[in-house]
Symmetry: C2
Subunit: 219 residues, 2 copies
Amino acid sequence: VSRLSRESRPRQPYHHGDLKNALIAAGVEILSKEGVSGLSLRKVALRAGVSHAAPYAHFADKPALIAAISTEGFERLYRAIADAVAKHAGDPAGQLVAGCWAYVNFALSDPDHFKVTLSGVVEKEEEHPAFVAVSKKSFALVVEIVRACQAAGVLRPGSEESTAVAVWSLMHGFVSLLLENQIPRSVRGRGSTRALLIETLNQIALVDLGAAERGRRKS
Amino acid sequence: VSRLSRESRPRQPYHHGDLKNALIAAGVEILSKEGVSGLSLRKVALRAGVSHAAPYAHFADKPALIAAISTEGFERLYRAIADAVAKHAGDPAGQLVAGCWAYVNFALSDPDHFKVTLSGVVEKEEEHPAFVAVSKKSFALVVEIVRACQAAGVLRPGSEESTAVAVWSLMHGFVSLLLENQIPRSVRGRGSTRALLIETLNQIALVDLGAAERGRRKS
DNA sequence: ACCTGAACACCGTTCAAGT
DNA sequence: ACCTGAACACCGTTCAAGT
C-alpha cells in the first residue's frame, strides 16, 4: 500500500515541496525582523513548520544555512545593480551613480541581511561555489561599469580592476560606516543619504556626478 | 575579626585587583585565538578565574562586554594611526599612507578584534560614551590628515569632512573586502598588500603616493 | 530520502545566598 | 561591593527510530 501511494505522488517529498528553499526564506525573514542575534536554526525550523532536527537533512550545520542566506542576498544585490546598469544604458556616469545607489539601498533597506551577506561566510569559500560565483559575477559587473566610465572620462584611466576595487571599496566602506553610525552627525546632517553618496563618489570621479541631477531639477 | 582583616587590606577587592579589565583582556584574547563564535561570557569568566555569574557584577550583559572590547580595539587603532601621523610630521602624503597602512595592519593582524570593533556595537551608542569618544577622536584625526593633504596638494580641495568620509570609507571598504576574500586573486596576486593599498589610495589622490617609496628603493 | 523525538553539551541570564 | 552555585530557558548537534 505504501509503495502504491508513493507512486501516485511520485516527486512529492515527505513534508512539503521544497524544504531547503523554505528554510532559506524563513532565515531571511527572521534576519530582517529580529536581526542576526535572533537567527537560530531552531526558530528557522519552527517557522518552516518542521522539527528542529529537520534542517540537518539539507544543511550540514548552521554556517551552511548562513552561506545559503548570504548567496541569496548577494544575488539580490547583483540583480539590483544589474537593473540599474540596464536602466542607464549609454550613460556611464548614470550607471555608476545608480549602481552605487542600488548598493546603498539594499544595505539600508535590509541591514542585517546585507551584513550577513558581505561578512558572514568568511572561511571555506571553496565549499560554497554558488556564493563564489555570484561574488565574481558582481565584481565583473563593477569592472564593466568602470570600463564605460573610463572611456567616457568619468573615471581615471588605468587598470580597470584596480579602479573597480577602489570603487567597490569606497562604496562598501561608505555603506558599512553608515550602518555602524560611524559617520558624524555634522556630515550626515548636511543632506540626504543620496546627496552624501554623490559627494563621496565625487572624490573619485573626474566630473561632478551631481551635475546631471541638479540640472534635471532646475529644468 | 572580618572587619579588621578588611581594614588591613583596605582597597583590595574581593578576588583580584581589577576584574573588569581582566574580563576585557580575557575577551580580547579569546577573540584573537578562537574568533567571534568562540567568545562566550562563560569562557571569559573561566579564563579570568571567576564564576560564570561574576561578569554580571561589572557588565549588564554580553553586549556590554562586547562594547568594552570594541572600545579597547578602537583605542588601539587610534593609537596606531596617531603614531603613524607623528612619525611622518611635516609629510602629509607620508601621513596618509602610514595612517592607512596602520589601519590595514591592525585589521590583518587581529581580524576578529577588528571586525567586532567596527561592527559589533551597532545599537544604543549613547550607552557607551567611551566608544563614541574614541570614534569621534579617530574621525577628527582623519580630518587632520586630510587637511594637511589638501594644503599640500595631495588631496582635492573642498570640505575636509566630506573628504575624510571618503578616505575612511575607501580604507574601511578596502580592508573589509580584503578580510572577506572579496578581492579577486587576479588583483590580489599582482603585488603585496601594501602595493595594493597604495594603488587604491592613488585613485583618490592627486599625486602618485607610491613615488616616494619607489624613489627610496632606487636611491 | 526525509523527517521526528529524545538526548547531550553549551550558552546567557537571574537570583538567593555567602563574605 | 563583589562573588558563588543552583536554576531556567534556549541553543547547535547527534542519533536511533519512524514513514
